[in-house]
């Protein structure tokens, strides 16, 4: 695996979606190439950051109440 391959599949490596051989090739390359190691570490940290920051909007209480009313309406329709 060369640096360009690492760039191409880094996200899929982080997702754990490379086949076993590719996964090992990837790890081997990264262990000897500081540039790629740096890049993968940046991808990883950005991913964690994004996940953490983007999952904060929870459904407003108003919506929950509205849904609860709908469910009550649906089940008592008959």
């Amino acid at each position: 695996m060369i640096c360009d391959d690492v760039k191409r599949v880094a996200y899929f490596f982080l997702d754990g979606k490379l086949g076993e051989n590719k996964q090992n090739d990837f790890k081997t390359h990264v262990s000897i190439c500081p540039d790629c190691e740096q890049r993968v570490s940046i991808h990883r940290r950005l991913r964690l950051f994004i996940c953490k920051r983007l999952s904060r909007d929870s459904a407003p209480q108003r919506l929950r109440q509205r849904l609860a009313r709908s469910f009550r309406g649906l089940t008592s329709e008959t």
């Binding site: 640096c3 360009d4 760039k7 191409r8 599949v9 996200y11 899929f12 997702d15 754990g16 979606k17 490379l18 086949g19 076993e20 051989n21 590719k22 540039d35 740096q38 890049r39 570490s41 940046i42 991808h43 940290r45 950005l46 991913r47 964690l48 950051f49 994004i50 996940c51 953490k52 920051r53 983007l54 999952s55 904060r56 909007d57 929870s58 459904a59 407003p60 108003r62 919506l63 929950r64 509205r66 849904l67 609860a68 709908s70 469910f71 649906l74 089940t75 329709e77 008959t78």
Partner: protein, 256 residues
């Protein structure tokens, strides 16, 4: 008659119990899709009503959350088709190029302190704005994969597209998002800079200047991304696909 009522009650209760735990996820995604809390609430409400209506069509043992998301995506498309989502025209070689530029400039600052959160001072609103700036299809795969934790196969199911398309959109969507975040971070001073630029290999020279000149008007247009190596491997739509067996769990496929 009484039994029918009881069954309806039972079904309603079952459904509510099964579906309500996903209300935050659905709302969060709906909000990012519509960018408006009222529309998002309506979309979630409509999704739940449809899901309730078709609850008997849900196959036991399949992913209920993915099923709800698929209903929501279809509802969204039906409601918004008239408004017509502006088709996106993206220059992929430009994304690669500017990504390389941005990451090389900021890498030293990004790896300085691996213990702390990256850009810890960045406002949530900026992060959301960065996501919202992505074209709809790319935003969707990033949301479904990175926020909701769906597998490639589940995303393909929800969005009705091949797994290869999911991967290509993820690759590009994540890149666009990272680039935008890095640009914001520098612009608003969340990373200060000052460190020597990292010496990383660049694809810049390879991707640079992919323009063609119209012989008559002299107007320069970007060469179609098909010419790009990445575009061949991660062809955006159905024409070229990665070698993956869609019947299999995507866990073990080989790329190339």
């Amino acid at each position: 008659m009484k039994t029918a009522v009881a069954t309806d009650h039972e079904q309603g209760w079952d459904f509510e119990k099964a579906a309500m735990p996903y209300v935050d996820s659905l709302y969060n995604t709906a909000y990012r899709m519509t960018r408006n809390s009222e529309d998002a609430e309506d979309l979630v409400q409509e999704t739940y009503l449809k899901a309730y209506k078709y609850y008997d069509k849900f196959e036991e043992g399949t992913n209920f959350k993915a099923w709800l998301f698929k209903i929501m995506k279809n509802t969204f498309i039906n409601n918004y088709r008239k408004k017509k989502l502006t088709p996106h025209k993206i220059d992929f070689s430009e994304i690669e190029e500017s990504y390389e530029r941005v990451i090389q400039k900021n890498a030293p600052d990004l790896i300085k302190d691996p213990e702390s959160e990256i850009f810890q001072d960045m406002m949530d609103a900026d992060v959301k704005r960065a996501l919202d700036s992505l074209p709809h299809d790319y935003k969707m795969v990033v949301l479904l994969a990175d926020i909701e934790g769906f597998s490639y196969k589940e995303i393909a199911e929800i969005l009705d597209c091949p797994v290869g398309t999911v991967m290509s959109r993820l690759y590009r969507g994540r890149k666009m998002l990272e680039r935008t975040l890095l640009e914001y971070a520098r612009k608003y001073g969340y990373i200060r800079g000052g460190a020597e630029p990292a010496k990383m290999r660049s694809r810049k020279d390879e991707t640079k200047g992919r323009k063609k000149k119209d012989p008559e008007t002299g107007e320069e247009t970007d060469v179609e991304p098909e010419a790009d190596e990445e575009a061949i491997l991660f062809a955006d739509d159905e024409d070229v696909e990665l070698e993956i067996e869609e019947e299999e769990e995507p866990e073990q496929f080989e790329i190339e």
